[in-house]
Symmetry: C2
Subunit: 160 residues, 2 copies
């Protein structure tokens, strides 16, 4: 297998952008994540791959719960804000107003067009990320007409 | 949790379209799949959720190997062709010319802009789909400049 061909082929996969968060006690972690998909209708499950060396991974391992805020079209700056380490201050995380999920305690970005809270049911630690399969236990919709931001329409790539 | 809100929130997730195939002996299965993402850089892994009641699932369970052909922008008809049961005839599957992957034997759609062959390393049977984590063992690129077909730009939905 030619590594360059492998990289370019995998970059033809399509992704959205999501701010994924976890909270344990006073400790909060957040990151912009692209490797997410639904994985079951009944029960509603999602699968998300979280980098093993991330703070988000450390908290997800402890709490087995996360919140996923969808980044909407035009909200590129919001995605960019969570490329760096996250902190909550005055009800804002990295400059964005958050609310705390009733089911998981994890911060949800107030202006995200949609969000879900999830509880991990299974995980696969393989390679440099951990795949979490997690049940959707709460959901919110701020803007039904919003389009999601698609990674391929940004200047960023993640994958390959 | 309001099921309608949950459905609409999950439909804000972003997906591509892929023809996923498997082959065991003379038996071939294929289907249009949207719930796919990369899940590791090193080794290169993907995660794919396959419906438990599908023929593709039955063959993936037996062979632990699949091929994934990316559906390109404008190839909506190709995606639609694999909504129905699949058969190979005269080197074509559901009307599309296929080649057979050297690593997995699974059919690859010749006109797909990119494709990968994968071998399953782990699986999670949870809900109405099985999550397969699988290593990329071969890859091909027909058209480096092609854009992938994004589910949100079609008339179809899968998720919610």
């Amino acid at each position: 297998m030619d590594p360059e061909v492998k990289k370019k082929a995998l970059r033809k996969f399509t992704y959205g952008l999501y701010i994924v968060t976890a909270k344990a006690g006073d400790e909060v972690a957040a990151g912009t994540v692209t490797w997410i998909s639904q994985s079951s209708f009944t029960p509603p499950l999602i699968m998300v791959a979280v980098r093993n060396d991330s703070h988000l991974h450390a908290l997800a391992e402890r709490t087995r719960a996360m919140a996923i805020s969808v980044v909407g079209a035009g909200q590129d700056a919001m995605a960019f804000a969570f490329f760096r380490p996250s902190r909550v201050e005055d009800g804002k995380m990295n400059g964005y107003i958050v609310q705390f999920g009733s089911e998981t305690g994890a911060p949800i970005i107030a202006e995200a067009p949609a969000w879900v809270e999830v509880r991990v049911t299974d995980s696969v630690s393989r390679g440099d990320h951990t795949v979490y399969v997690a049940e959707v236990v709460n959901a919110g919709l701020l803007d039904e007409s919003a389009m999601p931001l698609v990674l391929g329409s940004t200047e960023w790539t993640y994958g390959g």
